[in-house]
Symmetry: C4
Subunit: 290 residues, 4 copies
Amino acid sequence: MKQEEQRATILGSDAAWPPWRRRLHEVIFEADTKAGLIFDAGLLLAIVASMLVVMLASIERFNTEYRSALDTAEWFFTGLFTVEYVLRLASVRRPWRYATSFFGVIDLLSILPTWLGLFLHGAQSLMVVRTLRLLRAFRVFKMANYLVEGHVLMVALAKSRTKILVFLTAVLCAVVIAGALMYVIEGPENGFTSIPVSMYWAIVTITTVGYGDISPHTPLGQAIAALMMVLGYGVIAVPTGIVSAELAEAGRAESAAHAPVNSQHCPDCGLDRHDSDARFCRRCGHSLHT
Amino acid sequence: MKQEEQRATILGSDAAWPPWRRRLHEVIFEADTKAGLIFDAGLLLAIVASMLVVMLASIERFNTEYRSALDTAEWFFTGLFTVEYVLRLASVRRPWRYATSFFGVIDLLSILPTWLGLFLHGAQSLMVVRTLRLLRAFRVFKMANYLVEGHVLMVALAKSRTKILVFLTAVLCAVVIAGALMYVIEGPENGFTSIPVSMYWAIVTITTVGYGDISPHTPLGQAIAALMMVLGYGVIAVPTGIVSAELAEAGRAESAAHAPVNSQHCPDCGLDRHDSDARFCRRCGHSLHT
Amino acid sequence: MKQEEQRATILGSDAAWPPWRRRLHEVIFEADTKAGLIFDAGLLLAIVASMLVVMLASIERFNTEYRSALDTAEWFFTGLFTVEYVLRLASVRRPWRYATSFFGVIDLLSILPTWLGLFLHGAQSLMVVRTLRLLRAFRVFKMANYLVEGHVLMVALAKSRTKILVFLTAVLCAVVIAGALMYVIEGPENGFTSIPVSMYWAIVTITTVGYGDISPHTPLGQAIAALMMVLGYGVIAVPTGIVSAELAEAGRAESAAHAPVNSQHCPDCGLDRHDSDARFCRRCGHSLHT
Amino acid sequence: MKQEEQRATILGSDAAWPPWRRRLHEVIFEADTKAGLIFDAGLLLAIVASMLVVMLASIERFNTEYRSALDTAEWFFTGLFTVEYVLRLASVRRPWRYATSFFGVIDLLSILPTWLGLFLHGAQSLMVVRTLRLLRAFRVFKMANYLVEGHVLMVALAKSRTKILVFLTAVLCAVVIAGALMYVIEGPENGFTSIPVSMYWAIVTITTVGYGDISPHTPLGQAIAALMMVLGYGVIAVPTGIVSAELAEAGRAESAAHAPVNSQHCPDCGLDRHDSDARFCRRCGHSLHT
C-alpha cells in the first residue's frame, strides 16, 4: 500500500489518467509485475487456443463434425479479445495513439472478421490475420536475456542491410534474365508458359527449393539450369558470409558492453526497452514505475 | 596383481560393492582398459548387427524368404542384450540410479518389444527404439580427442541457444502466417486442404526442401511463394552466422586452454568426463582407478 | 551561369566537343546533378515498364486480348530507346568507344529486335535481351554508400576467386564421376538416359535443388545418391566458409580506411568511381566537373 | 646444353636410369618445363575429348547414327592412353611404385575396359572410370598460386575432420532413428516400403534435396517431417560454422607465412610439392632438378 502511494507521488496526480486506469495499464501492458505476467501468459494461451480453433475449422472433417463446438469457441475468443481491446483502449492515456499503433491495428483486425461475418459472407476467412497476434509472444519472453539476444540479431541484420539489398538486386536481375531466357528456350510446351512463370521457376531453382512442378526438358535448357544451380550454390555463400562477419563483430562489441535492459512500457507514449536505471521515459519524459 | 591390490587399497573395502562387481563395472562401463574397450567394441558390433536384422526384416522380400533365420537372429540379440542389461544392473553400485538414467531406460526399451511380442501382436514394430542404442557408439570413440571436439561443438551450440530460439520463434510465426495466407489464396482445390497442411507446405518451402507434393498454382500464390523463398534464402544465413561466430570464439578460447580430458566413468554416481589428473569423482568423491 | 563559365574554363575549349554536347553528356551519363538524376530515374522507369510489357506479351491470355495495346507500347518504348541511343552517341566525345562498351552493345541490342521484327519473323523473342538493361538500375543507386558496400562484396569475391575456382573444379569432377556411375547403375529405364542427363541429375542433387524429375530407383543407386547428398551437405560449407572469412577480413580493413567515393563518369574515357577529391580522371587525365 | 650437363652432374650417373628416361620423366611427369607443360595440356585435352566421346556414345541417338565414328575415336584414345601408360612405366625409375600408385591404377583402369571389351561383352560400360583421369587436371593448374589456395582449403578441412566426423555420426544416428520411426508411422502404403528406403527418404529430407518421390501423407508423418526439416535447417549451420572458423584461422596463419611452393615431382619416389628452395626430395633424398 505504501509503495503504491509512493509511486503515485512520483507519477504525480493526473485528472485525465486516474489511478484505476494506471493499475489496469500496469496489468495489461507490463510484463514485470506478477499480475502483468499472469495476464500476458493467459493472453498468449488464449491466442494460441484461438489459432488452434481456426486451424481445426479449416480441416474439412472437423468442420462438418464439430461445427457448433467450433462456432461457440470462435465466438468465445472473439468476445474475449473484444473485451481485451476495449480494456486496452481504456487503460492507456492516449487511446488514439494505441489504436493507430502496429499492435493496436492488429488487435482490431483480429476481432473484426467474426463481427463482419454477421453481415458479409466469407469474411471469416480473413480471421487468419489473428496469426499476427502471435507476435505478442515475444512480450512474454521479454526477459532481459532474450531482449539482448534479439537485439544483437537485429543490429547485425540492420548493419548488413545495404549489402543484402545490393545482393538481392543482383539476384533479381539474374532471375529476370534467366526467366526470359528459359521462356525462349523451353517454351510453353515444357511448362514455361510465360515470362512471369519462368521467373517463378528461376526463383524456385536459385533458392534450391526445387519443387519439380516445372523443370527443363531440352538439353540446352538443362545445361543453363545446371549453370544457374552451380552459380546459386556459390552465391548462397554471400548472404551467409555477410551475416556471419557482422555477427562476429557484434559478438565482440556485445561482450564489451553488456548493458542491462528494462522491459517497461511507457504508459504515455508506449516506448519500450528503457535502460535498467531509467525512471523517466527517454522519449516523452513521463515517469516510469520501478 | 600388485597393481590390483594397490587399487583395492585406494578404493577401500566395501561390503555392498564386492571386488567382482567392481571388475565387472570396469569392463562394462569403462572404455580405457583393454577388456573394457573390447567389450564396448563388441557391443557396438552387436548393436549394428541387430539393427541390420531389423532393417532386413522390414524389407518385404527378405521377410518372407528368410523368416526363420531373421527370427532366430532377433531372439539371439534380444537374449544377448537381456544378459547385458542384467550384468549392468549387477555391476553398478546403485542399480536404481542406472535403471532410471537415460541409457538405462533405452537399454530396457531395446529388449522389451521382443518380449512383449510374445503376448501382444505388433509390439515388434516398437523395436525401432533399439536404434537409440546407436548413441552408445560415442562411448567407443571416447578418446580424449573426440570428447574435446564434441565438447567445443556442444558449448558453441549451447551458447547460441537463446539466439537460435529467438530465430526459430520468428520462423514459426512466419510459417503460421504464410500457411494461413496460402490456405485462403490457393484453397483446397490446389492441394492446400487445411491450415495445418499449408503450414507443412510453408516449412517444406522455407527450409528449401521443396518436395513438390504441394505447390502453388495461382499467380498470386506463386508470387507469395517466391517472396517466401527469397526471404528464406536470406534467412538461412542467420543460424549459420550465429554458429560460425560462436565457433570462431570457441576455437580461440579452446586453443588458449587445451585442457586434457579423461573418459572415466565414476562407479558410484556415473559421472563422465573427469580431468586427466583426477583421482576422485568431482561430484560424489568416490575414488577412480587411474 | 557563372558556375557554368567557370567549369568551361576548367574543361578548356574543345572544338570537337562543343558545350551543348557536354551538357547533354552531363544529363545522360551523370547521376549527381539534378537533371542527371531525373533522367536516370525516368530511364529506369521506362526500362521497368518496357520489361513489364514484354512479360505481359508472353502471357497467352494478355497477348490475344490486348494485342494492339501491347504492340503500341512496344513500339513506343523502342522509339524512346532509339532516341536515347542516338543521344548517347551524340553526347560522348568518342562515340565509337561508347558503342563498343558493355552498355553500348546492350543498349543497341535492346532496340534491334523490334526493328529486325519488321523483316524477320520471330526476332521479337530476342527482345529478352532488354532485361540486361536492368543492370543500369545500379547507376541510380549510385550513392557512395551502395558503391562502397558493393565494392566490399566485389573485393571479397575477387579475393576468394582462386579458392572458389579450385572448389568448382573439384565439384565438376565429382559431378562427371557421379553422373557416369549412375548412368551405369540406374540406366535408361530409370530416367538416366545418357551420361549428360545423369550429370544434370548429379548437379540437381549436389546443389540440393532436387526437382525429382529424375531420381534413383535401384537400392544401389539410392545408396550412392544418399552418399552424394551427405557429401554435398558437408561441401556446401566450403564456399560459405571462404566468403565468410574473406568478408570478415574485408570488414576489418574497410572500417580502418573508410575512403569516400565519387560517382562521376569521365566524359572522355568513361571511367567510373573516382576518389571524392578527384578533379581529373585518373586514367585519361581529362578534367571532371565538381 | 650446359645446364643439361650441370643437372646430370647433380643427379649423378645412374646405370639403371639412363638420361633418355630422365628426359622422358621430365616431359611426362613435370609441368614446369615448356615441354612438360605442353605434354600435360595435350593430355588434358585428350582426356576431355575422350570423355566427350564416351558421353556422346551414351546418347541413344548419337550411338546409332555415328556408331563407326565413335568406335574409331574410342580406339584412337585407347591407343593413345596405352602408349602413354607404357611411356610412363618406362620413364620412372621404379615402375612398380608408379603402377601401384593412385594415378597408376587409374591410368591402367582407364584403358582396360576397351581391351576387355574384345573378350567380354558389356565391359565397355566400365569406361566411365576414365572420368577419374580428370583429376589430372589439377596438375596443369599446378601453378604455385593454386597449390597454396588448394592447400589452405585442405588444411582447413583436415583440421575440422574430427568435428565433421562427430557431426556426421550424429546426423547418421538421426537418419536411422527418423527412418525407423517413419517406417512405422507411414508404412509401405505411403511409399516407405522398408527401413532402408525410409532412411534414404530421411537423408533426402535432412539435406534439403527433397526429390518428392517419397513424401509423408499422414498428419503425424508430416508433423515429424516438418520437425526434421526445421532441425536440419538449424543443423546445416554446424559444418558451415566449423569450416568458416577454421578458414578464418587458416587465412590469418597464411598471410603470416606465405611460403612459396614448388611443384616438382620426385623422379624416384614420386613425392609432390617440395619447398621452393628444395634441391633434394625430402622423403627419399633423391636430387631434384631446379
